[in-house]
Symmetry: C2
């Protein structure tokens, strides 16, 4: 299995969209700033998300992206798959042929593990995440705390501010 920043960013960005539902289309620039993700990299990811109809786009000023269906109907596993990270942990990718064209000693172990992961991630929707207290707290911080909140926390409140 592969789980890298690509998949993590995709889920984070989708969750950001979900959290700002009702504010009209959200620009990638907004998401990039709020979540600390490179804009051009986000563009690549949203290209894939759009092809899977997980998001809808509007061009021009005032444009941006919105969810392709309800937050309750978008599952984390879908999002990760959409950006091409596959959750399969077998070497043969399900073909039972990784040793001399036959099943290797550990195929079933990885296959079972993959099912575990698959089931887990496909039962959590964006809405489920939004309902979590910890997520709301971070979202609030991103709304108000702004860019350097963490630095302020670290260094104490500067005299001149």
């Amino acid at each position: 299995m592969k789980l890298t920043t690509k998949g993590r960013y995709a889920v984070t960005a989708m969750l950001d969209l979900a959290l700002h539902y009702g504010e009209g289309p959200i620009t990638l620039a907004d998401i990039a700033q709020r979540q600390g993700i490179s804009l051009s990299y986000l563009e690549q990811l949203f290209s894939r998300l759009r092809r899977q109809s997980l998001v809808a786009s509007v061009r021009g000023p005032g444009g941006g992206y919105s969810l392709g269906k309800e937050a309750r109907e978008i599952f984390i596993g879908e999002v990760i798959s959409a950006v091409d990270e596959n959750m399969d942990t077998t070497k043969c990718h399900g073909a039972h042929n990784c040793q001399n064209n036959e099943r290797c000693l550990t195929h079933d172990l990885w296959s079972d593990l993959s099912n575990q992961i698959y089931t887990y991630l496909n039962n959590i929707s964006l809405q489920d995440l939004m309902d979590r207290k910890a997520v709301r707290e971070v979202a609030d911080r991103q709304e108000h705390g702004d860019v350097d909140a963490s630095l302020v926390d670290q260094l104490g409140t500067p005299a001149g501010v």
Copy 2:
């Protein structure tokens, strides 16, 4: 999370050791041939497994490796960790600091997923795998069927054999 051939090979090799328990030390050359893994690559992996006391070694003719403790007491998660593949899926590796030194929007999701995987793999022992019918079947094939069994299966029984 990272699960590549490194971790898969390590588990496969350990399972091979477990299956040949009682035959004295098993050489890496044997494992390499049976499981189709590069000998030098196995050496690297066993170096790490030995440092974690998951295997014990005997040098010289008649030497080889054996399990460091009972198959019932060696868990898959341990083996994977020993070869340095970490099962953590968070970006911050547990530090809650991946966005401006604070927790990102999705930290808990990855943290929970990591726990799932961790729990799953740490509750399966080598003995559990050995007890599986499918594993015994593959092990039998590796004992008798030998190197080109699969090719014979594919091409039909050659006339001259």
